[in-house]
Symmetry: C2
Subunit: 419 residues, 2 copies
């Protein structure tokens, strides 16, 4: 699974500290990610592979999504500092751990910490490498689409839970990119009570509507748009990167009396998601990880392989390659700056496909835009793929330009109700 380069024997004991939540409601819970990490350390040890001399000792710490990660890092590190930190994924936990680790010259690799703030690697986040595509990388997809279709304005609608704030951080990335390109942006925040009819009024004057919220909120908004005959007034997007069970499966279907309307409404909804790839080696990984999850009592949709599992697997591979280079150059595992630098600006074969880390230590991302292609069945297919490596937008055979072309807009004054 590694690059087939034979190297001089590398014998090192590596202490790894993993910060992930114990709570299985997270797609990146300890039980889910542990099998992926173990798969990586075990396959690396196989005879004949270039990194078989690396002996990883992995400690798992429950990070929650708050302050616990920092507290346990500090307590553990008083005696002995780890050589490598994996995680945290949650932004607020990651911020604290990455700051402390950077200060201590310890490399941190995460398949999370996707928020735009972590881009600032000059100072407090200097030792962070991100192996999953960030929100800013995702936002490039919109930049490419806006350019291609000459859209001029967007309203960003997000649900702010004021806790982990995933949707806030998701649309922060979109805002950064579109605002820098001088598009006209309007932001609507949903706090607690959702009044879909009020929200939809805010979309009248905008070319594009970009949303991030729970599946039920998205459905309410799309139903409100459909009732007001606004689904063709703007181009609607929902961002659903991880298809998390906490956000619902994104379907229009609920088994209630609105299903028929919802299917019609969702015919106008485009969904931005991660482009996932597979390759032959992936099958064995997938099988082994699923087996382990099953033992841990995780089944159903939550036992699917996700970007976090792949990311943390690939993180160890990336670290091993960088460490190898650093040792070859006469330094050692305590040289966090060098190890981090060697992980950046590097492309390699990960467990599910090519992984390309940019010069700032952030993974380039590939994304798909899905739309309903079978209006009868209400099923989705990808119409675009966006490739972050070279910034290209690929149009799939089912792509239909009309769908992304703005109609002449009915100018509806805000005070008037079209119903």
């Amino acid at each position: 699974i590694l690059l087939p380069v034979r190297t001089s024997a590398l014998n090192e004991e590596i202490e790894v500290l993993v910060f992930l939540p114990k709570n299985n409601s997270y797609l990146f819970s300890i039980s889910r990610v542990t099998p992926a990490i173990e798969y990586a350390t075990q396959t690396m040890k196989l005879n004949g592979l270039p990194y078989s001399g690396l002996n990883f000792t992995v400690h798992y710490e429950n990070s929650d999504c708050g302050n616990e990660a920092l507290f346990s890092l500090v307590e553990r590190s008083c005696m002995k500092k780890p050589d490598l930190i994996l995680g945290p994924v949650c932004e607020y936990a990651a911020a604290q751990v990455v700051r402390m680790a950077s200060h201590w010259n310890i490399p941190v690799i995460s398949a999370g910490a996707l928020a735009t703030g972590f881009n600032q690697k000059e100072k407090e986040y200097s030792h962070l490498t991100r192996v999953a595509p960030t929100y800013l990388k995702m936002a490039e997809t919109f930049s490419a689409l806006f350019h291609d279709f000459s859209w001029k304005s967007a309203v960003l609608i997000y649900d702010d839970d004021k806790e982990e704030r995933n949707c806030y951080f998701t649309l922060e990335g979109v805002h950064s990119v579109l605002d820098a390109e001088d598009y006209h942006i309007h932001v609507v925040v949903i706090y607690s009570k959702v009044d879909a009819d009020e929200i939809i009024k805010e979309t009248y004057d905008y070319d594009v509507v970009i949303m991030c919220a729970g599946a039920d909120i998205i459905r309410d908004i799309m139903l409100a748009a459909y009732r007001r005959r606004l689904t063709n007034n703007s181009i609607f997007f929902n961002i659903e990167l991880f298809n998390s069970s906490s956000y619902g499966n994104g379907s229009w279907k609920r088994g209630d009396k609105y299903d028929a309307d919802a299917k019609h409404a969702y015919a106008a909804l485009n969904v931005v998601t991660l482009l996932r790839t597979v390759k032959p080696q992936f099958e064995n990984f997938s099988m082994e990880v699923k087996k382990s999850m099953q033992k841990a009592g995780i089944s159903g949709d939550g036992a699917n392989i996700n970007m976090f599992m792949e990311g943390f697997h690939d993180a160890l591979q990336l670290y091993a390659m960088a460490l190898h280079d650093v040792i070859k150059n006469g330094s050692n595992k305590k040289d966090g700056v060098q190890i981090t630098q060697r992980m950046w600006n590097r492309t390699f074969e990960g467990i599910a496909g090519q992984v390309s880390i940019d010069a700032n230590g952030d993974r380039n991302g590939d994304f798909s835009v899905m739309t309903m292609t079978d209006l009868q069945a209400g099923t989705y297919e990808a119409v675009f793929n966006y490739y972050g490596n070279n910034g290209t937008l690929q149009k799939m055979p089912v792509f239909n330009r009309d769908r992304f072309t703005l109609q002449v807009r009915h100018r509806i004054p805000k005070s008037e109700d079209p119903d």
Copy 2:
């Protein structure tokens, strides 16, 4: 200087860690605050005073305004944890230190950390006591004024430096209070380039304009308001709590050709500031502290006694009283929860006057509203005092109701320029 209660001898060694910036551009720099802290520890040691058995060992750590404070706390605490932490003042430094200290059960007292977020004492900021009035306390002054004069709406204008964000946090407090009382609020953020004419257009429809920004920006805005004959269209406030040299002295005077206009414009500007008191004992404190500052090379306006010096002095007094109670109750200096609780909901005589800490561990604040009372000389006097203890607004003899009564507003359409 302490409450005249004789107590059984208290003999304790107390390790104090002080986090303040070394950089003298801060009003709360180590050189400025050290003399106040030393004055407190030395006067407490005087024979016959109830806390003379307390022996404070004080370590000063340069906190900057960023992450350094946490790093040095962690490094120092691996061997031995301090008994008490004073500071940090800057919000971002304080957040990290207070979280860690609360986790370790160490009391933290600060004359800073004034932002609204620190009000949440249930969880991560459980061990924080604030001995200077917070931004939320300051905002009560506006609540009282809005109520008294039946104002309905406000535009909040602030300069966001994206670093320490003092003005952001200042107006966040005002926003929290006025928004909860259902006033109509509009927010204008100044990032870098200031276009005073554009800013002033945003004030047309609002009863009250509340600003926090550097002195030059305030002057530009007031001049723009004056030129457009808008100084009587709304009631204008500037918040200038500490009269920091970094924000300028708040005067209209610059010695340029706009001084005459600026004096007229400032005749309509009200300034909210801390209400400072003095009492006989203060003189000795002031003299000693100034002497020490002079030795450290600090002179001029920057050598005035400020709220931070008083606050950190009083912090040690408050701690001594609480520790005394806790020991009397059979516990000890390591009982951070008890010591913190004993500091809350407590009123005592500080070095400059009465200090009242509310049930949430935050000091009640007294504030003044100053206005130009001599239009010839352009000098200011207090027209209101607001007392946070009982929430009363005191009108001073120079108060003139007309000045705070809204005129019939000229409705100027935003697109039209009155010049």
